[in-house]
Symmetry: D2
């Protein structure tokens, strides 16, 4: 996957819209923005050197989503290309709030330039023990990587 820098926001992942993403209204099914946001968070974490499957093995923890809040502004359609951003809004000891946005990519401009805002929201993710699913402190190395 290519990771292109979004001019104003730091991190942005391009996401292409396929048949699987659409519904009979002819537009992207709204629940799928949570998937696009997840993909962007994952690639943003990877860009910070954090790979969740390895982290699970080494630190025996996983991130779980505790709260999502999304606003939908405009619809996307088949074959559209989106730019999806992720940035830290708040860092706590056991959880994070990530602000995310999905833009329609401007097909006439350079590949890293975003057009209309389609959807925006915040995702609160908590760090939990991967067996008990109980909240735990985010490992210090992870916390430091996130603070950069």
């Amino acid at each position: 996957m290519t990771r292109r820098a979004h001019p104003e926001r730091g991190f942005a992942l391009p996401v292409r819209i396929y048949w699987e993403d659409t519904d009979a209204g002819g537009i992207v099914f709204y629940a799928n923005y949570l998937k696009f946001f997840e993909r962007a968070r994952t690639e943003w974490l990877r860009s910070l050197g954090i790979e969740q499957s390895r982290l699970r093995e080494s630190a025996r923890g996983i991130f779980v989503v505790g709260e999502t809040s999304l606003r939908y502004h405009r619809a996307a359609r088949l074959d559209d290309e989106l730019l999806v951003t992720a940035e830290v809004e708040e860092i706590g000891r056991a959880s994070l709030i990530i602000a995310q946005r999905a833009y329609l990519r401007d097909s006439k401009g350079p590949p890293d330039v975003a057009g209309a805002l389609l959807c925006e929201g915040t995702i609160r993710i908590g760090w939990v023990d991967d067996r008990t699913l109980k909240p735990a402190r985010i490992p210090p190395t992870l916390l430091e990587a996130l603070k950069t």
Copy 2:
């Protein structure tokens, strides 16, 4: 689909958890609660005599989701049975706010008794023209059915 009355809340749809609903964390993938909530809204509307595909043909409009806000309390797992509720929180001229909850069904109690609260949230849905996707006034007959 059976529609069982939920004692305290009026409408509740039973939803079974299948492999498709889970993720590698061993629990239900959080984005899927938006699907469960959608299913419950649809069956709740159907219980009021409103069928969305017919409505689209007769009134040339569809509901689109404008805002979602969800809080996750506990995880559900493969083979669990949920009870998912839907009730009107606010009715406007062009949009509605629906409050929804997913409970773990208490397997020892009667089929309509809910156990632990897993996820709750509000969904704002707007009524739009089905071609232009522009906001429109909710048809009066629909509005009346919702107010009952």
Copy 3:
């Protein structure tokens, strides 16, 4: 979930079509029939007293899909109700072949009468150790339940 007997085939699960199941072609996204078939297999197993999550704990094994072969005859749409069947075609020591069909439910007839055939196929499922994912012999009690 209600389990209604299908007149000719023994087991049939009703499946309602929601927005999540459709695509921008206005019809059910073809990959979703694999989900409907999985739901029907799961409920058919449950009707034989087999619950996969308990089986995993007791026998430390899970079913994995090894081969799928589907033919699509007609499209389903939003709000349609399907009847999805499952029946054993072949039983081996480490794998099974299940024949499955999805019918449009005839909305004018009684609830257990199937209309047009939408999709049919066979699914080969193997029994594997739930940690190593290596093929294993199907537990005898499971085999006997399947043979009835």
Copy 4:
């Protein structure tokens, strides 16, 4: 999306595995390979100058899947990167058969080198009128692009 040439097969799309793709077995949910194959077919068509949403507007037709046949060899997991290929196996007047494969990308080798074969299959797609969904002749320009 990057399109990297697959050494032996011509076209290959890299597909990253996210939480949304996995199930409680800890592996990729088998139905999702149909999505990965669809993404690869779409990007392969795009590489031939064919964009399905434009084609729908100009030729009033869409591709629909008529038959799928998949064999699963090995499981993929969270954070894996796959290479998914697509190549024509047969071209008729109203339908095509596409052969597809998903490989685990070899993380130590160059980005376009495939490792273990995970899943392979054939997809028969038919060309239909986008309103009636009835079979129609594939437009000549489309046919020629496919034959190259």
